[in-house]
């Protein structure tokens, strides 16, 4: 994947993830043009279109358009599945996700995306594992300093104890 864009029906950008190096100006230009092109399409049309030398795969979920640019050899149908998987992850995380969730918690949307895709490719094909990793990272984010000398395998136990400590001390 070269990039992924999320934008609203009015053309406002909600998330942009670029996997290729481009200048800010170029990114803005591409975004503007692509948003225009996708918004101009009618509801029943194909989810795939050719744009410049890329294949664009897009899908609309409620008021948000999820738009990915893939290369020639990539499988369009599986990209649709990737988009769907990402939406499912957001849905599980936020609990019935809507556009406002993504607006007000945009950094979390990025964290989830980074746990699912790496360098433009899917890194974890199990929904459960992605959500688990996010959960752990979130806990670390909230409560931890990262000076644990112990090896990774013990990390799970330690976070468990961390949770316990929180419960005991009644921290919020």
């Amino acid at each position: 994947m070269q990039f992924m864009l999320l934008f609203s029906r009015q053309g406002k950008l909600r998330l942009q993830k670029w996997y290729v190096p481009l200048s800010d100006k170029e990114k803005k230009k591409i975004t503007r043009e692509l948003v225009q092109t996708v918004l101009a399409r009618k509801p029943k049309m194909c989810s795939f279109l050719e744009w410049r030398d890329l294949k664009i795969v897009y899908k609309r979920y409620a008021s948000l358009y999820f738009c990915c640019a893939i290369e020639d050899q990539d499988n369009e149908l599986i990209t649709l599945e990737i988009i769907h998987r990402y939406v499912e992850l957001l849905d599980k995380y936020f609990g019935s996700v809507c556009e406002l969730d993504i607006i007000f918690n945009f950094e979390k949307a990025y964290f989830i995306l980074d746990e699912f895709l790496l360098g433009g490719e899917a890194q974890e094909t199990s929904k459960k594992n992605v959500l688990k990793a996010i959960e752990q990272a979130d806990l670390l984010h909230k409560y931890g300093n990262v000076h644990h000398p112990n090896k990774n395998s013990k990390c799970w136990t330690l976070t468990f104890f961390q949770n316990l400590t929180i419960f005991v001390h009644g921290q919020t």
Binding site: M45, C46, L77, F106, F111, L118, A122, T125, G144, N152
Partner: protein
């Protein structure tokens, strides 16, 4: 200093701004606060500040002052700050920024951090925006992580390695051993990463591809496990077990099996199994089937499997889901040349897709339909294609029109059908056809002499329906000019004849001339056609004369030039008018600038070989009549000689430099033409009779190019006027006659007449030339001929 506002409040404030101006104000205030905060020493809200800045950046406002803050935060011991810092790095820094190098060290440290989530941040950032230098620096670290025991890290390291290989191809070698061993992992995430990495390595280097071919059995094993074995809740998507991994493995198998019999054999069974067992009711199943089909068609699969694959595509074509239909057509396009018959079976469905609402589907269907046209289905296919052309979106018109022309040219069942088809296209999509269409069509029409009557009637009618389609109007004008007499005769076998009078025809042409929709080229056509009619009609020659003289003062240089020349034809050269405006000879295909490059050696080539433009502008005074005359003269000769043209006004393109501001100038220019100074070359007298002498000298310009200079002089007591020379050379030699320096020879050798002849003798045949001399002396016309067999200096 205003207190820092929490992130969510700031977002709310920005969203509640009612105008762009208000929003800018809010953002400016916030940015100022953020900048101030950055300058302060460590406080608890650093990550919030950076997050605010990132939000502002996403709205499109500049945020480069946050770059150094990102660098600082990445180095922080707090995970929260690291996390937002890395996110900021991925959003604000890219490899073009200098600051990106500063984080290399932080990434290096974090890659060996004890906490896997920190390692994960570093890996993610490196894979997202790592520059070539960073990749080179950190590649050994990544390789080490590929061998760690932690699956969570291994899967990320694998994809990070993919990024590194894409950036620095040579580093691929480094990862080959670890990639190989990763294939024996059980964890799906790691397997997926490993397959992607191996795919990347194989695509980059053929030697690596060879080495990884041995993994085909392992890959087949893994796939079998996914397809056959039981339900695995973790990875199941609508009944398909880990479709993401399946698709990647299939893609890798495709690369490994390409052009290799052994590998292809090893995967035959598996592919058949996947193709038959995968549930195709949902998109996810179709995704796997699609990848399977692509693989089957690309490797050396056995024929049964290929048939299975094409049938799957056929099923896709009938699917209700538009996406699936689109995919099917894309794949069929790839194999239409190799498995033509298999694809032909689905022609009906494909043609139906031409009527789909979606432009992408339409485009695919058009390409596929054009590829499927053959001699047996040309009539029905063309019907569909023409219907499509009338309703197709504008961006596809040009492609459709040229595709139709190509198909018509290759498979036309009859000439009339061909002409009808082209006319149909010109009426529906005339504005989108390419420029060569007009001369091609003209050439086609001249070749079909039996249909001249039919064609001109049809075109005349078409002219009245729509005058805005320029190619159509141009062809119509040309035909009316050329075959106007057939039009006026009023009878036609093939179609219902229109009863036209000469006035009607001239009216039509005048409408074209005066219409604001006509381009200058079209006007040129119309003017020439009007002129040609002067020999084909009887009553309204005066009207033509007046039209032509009006345009003698036209602003457009081309039109003015033509009008002036035609005027001259009326006035001074009236005796030649009939001959000049005779029917055009059949135009040879190759002489119309076809790109196959070979020049035809057929006789009757136009005087200007090759250029299309010149064909159009040189259409006027073609000495077709003289061609016939010369041949009659040379009737008994063995060698078919190539006639040249030497009428003064013929080479209008040769005189493009002539500014034609007033009527008389052009002709004066002919008289005042200064010959190029002759190089001292041996001259030989080739003709001497009745006081008129003609000498010839020649000069070799290039290997096959030769310039011959003919000089004439008059030693009699009386002036000679209307002196013209014509030349003919052997078939393979190309001839071009320049305008003579004058056309009269005063008595007693008062002035000499010079004319240059440029020859091109690529085949180096024995050069001969026949020259015909014609002049008027003391009221009587004298014509004579001389043959030159040997050229001096050659």
């Amino acid at each position: 200093m205003s207190p820092s506002v929490p992130l969510q409040e700031m977002i709310r404030a920005i969203r509640s701004a009612r105008t762009q101006c208000e929003e800018r104000g809010v953002i400016q205030r916030e940015c100022a606060a953020i900048r101030a905060q950055f300058r302060q020493t460590d406080n608890g809200g650093r990550s919030h500040n950076l997050a605010k800045l990132l939000y502002v950046h996403m709205l499109g406002y500049p945020a480069h002052f946050g770059q150094m803050e990102c660098v600082r935060m990445i180095a922080s011991p707090r995970y929260s700050e690291k996390r937002v810092g890395y996110l900021g790095a991925m959003m604000l820094l890219d490899e073009k920024q200098d600051a990106s190098l500063l984080i290399t060290n932080s990434i290096k440290n974090d890659l060996s951090h004890s906490n896997q989530y920190v390692q994960s941040l570093a890996l993610c950032t490196l894979a997202c925006m790592g520059s070539a230098e960073m990749c080179r620096d950190l590649a050994p670290e990544i390789d080490r992580l590929l061998r760690s025991s932690n699956s969570y890290i291994k899967k990320k390291a694998a994809l990070c390695a993919v990024h590194i290989v894409r950036k620095v191809h040579d580093l691929g070698e480094l990862f080959v051993p670890s990639a190989r061993s990763l294939l024996s992992e059980k964890n799906h995430g790691v397997l997926h990463g490993a397959v992607v990495l191996i795919t990347e390595l194989c695509e980059r280097s053929p030697e690596t591809l060879e080495r990884f071919r041995k993994t085909v059995p392992d890959l087949v094993q893994i796939m079998k496990g996914l397809v056959i074995s039981g339900y695995s809740p973790d990875h199941d998507v609508a009944g398909v077990s880990d479709p993401f991994l399946q698709v990647r493995i299939l893609r890798l198998l495709r690369i490994l099996g390409r052009n290799n019999e052994a590998a292809s054999d090893a995967m035959n069974d598996l592919l058949a199994q996947v193709a038959t067992n995968t549930d195709s009711t949902k998109t996810v199943g179709n995704a796997v089937l699609y990848e399977t089909v692509l693989t089957v068609l690309d490797i050396k699969s056995e024929s049964g499997l290929r048939v299975l694959a094409v049938n799957i595509l056929g099923r896709f074509l009938l699917n209700n889901d538009r996406n699936i239909r689109y995919i099917a057509m894309t794949s069929l396009q790839k194999i239409v040349s190799t498995d033509h018959n298999a694809v032909q079976r689905h022609r009906g469905t494909i043609v139906d897709c031409l009527k789909d609402q979606d432009a992408s589907v339409k485009r695919r269907a058009l390409e596929l339909s054009l590829a499927l046209v053959s001699a047996s289905n040309i009539r029905s296919m063309m019907k569909e294609l023409l219907i499509f052309l009338s309703s197709c979106p504008p961006e596809l018109r040009a492609q459709a029109a040229s595709g139709i022309f190509n198909a018509a040219e290759r498979y036309a069942p009859s000439k009339r059908w061909h002409i009808d088809t082209i006319l149909h296209v010109l009426t529906t999509a005339g504005g989108d056809v390419r420029d060569e269409t007009v001369p091609n069509l003209i050439q086609l029409i001249t070749n079909t002499s039996e249909l001249h009557c039919y064609t001109v009637h049809k075109l005349y009618r078409a002219l009245f329906t729509d005058i805005s389609q320029q190619p159509l109007v141009q062809v119509a004008c040309w035909c009316i000019g050329e075959y106007g007499d057939l039009l006026l005769k009023g009878e036609c076998q093939e179609t219902e004849a229109v009863q036209v009078t000469e006035d009607d025809v001239l009216d039509a042409l005048e409408i074209v001339l005066q219409s604001h929709m006509s381009t200058p080229t079209t006007r040129g056509f119309a003017l020439t056609a009007t002129m040609k009619l002067s020999t084909r009609i009887t009553d309204n020659v005066d009207r033509i004369r007046s039209i032509v003289s009006i345009y003698g003062s036209c602003i457009d240089v081309e039109l003015q030039q033509r009008a002036v020349e035609y005027n001259a034809l009326f006035k001074k050269y009236d005796h030649m008018r009939a001959a000049v405006l005779e029917r055009m000879p059949v135009i040879q295909k190759n002489s119309l600038g076809q790109t196959n490059g070979e020049l035809s050696e057929e006789p009757m080539k136009e005087s200007q070989p090759g250029k299309v433009k010149q064909e159009e502008t040189a259409l006027p005074p073609q000495p077709a009549g003289q061609v016939v005359d010369l041949l009659d003269l040379l009737g008994g000769s063995q060698e078919p000689l190539q006639p040249g043209s030497s009428v003064g006004g013929s080479a209008s393109t040769q005189l493009t430099a002539a500014p034609s501001s007033a009527g008389g100038d052009l002709l004066d220019l002919l008289g005042g033409f200064e010959p190029t100074p002759l190089a001292p070359a041996p001259t030989v007298t080739v003709y001497e009779k009745n006081g008129v002498t003609l000498t010839l000298s020649c000069e070799q310009q290039s290997e096959s190019g030769l310039t011959v200079t003919l000089t004439a002089s008059n030693s009699t007591d009386s002036d000679i006027s209307g002196f013209t020379l014509q030349a003919a050379v052997p078939k393979s030699v190309q001839l071009q006659m320049r305008a003579p320096s004058r056309d009269s020879l005063p008595a007693h050798g008062g002035a000499k007449l010079t004319q240059l002849v440029v020859l091109n003798n690529p085949n180096k045949v024995n050069l001969k030339m026949r020259i015909r001399v014609s002049y008027t002396c003391q009221g009587s016309v004298v014509q004579d001929m001389v043959q030159v067999d040997s050229f001096p200096g050659l």
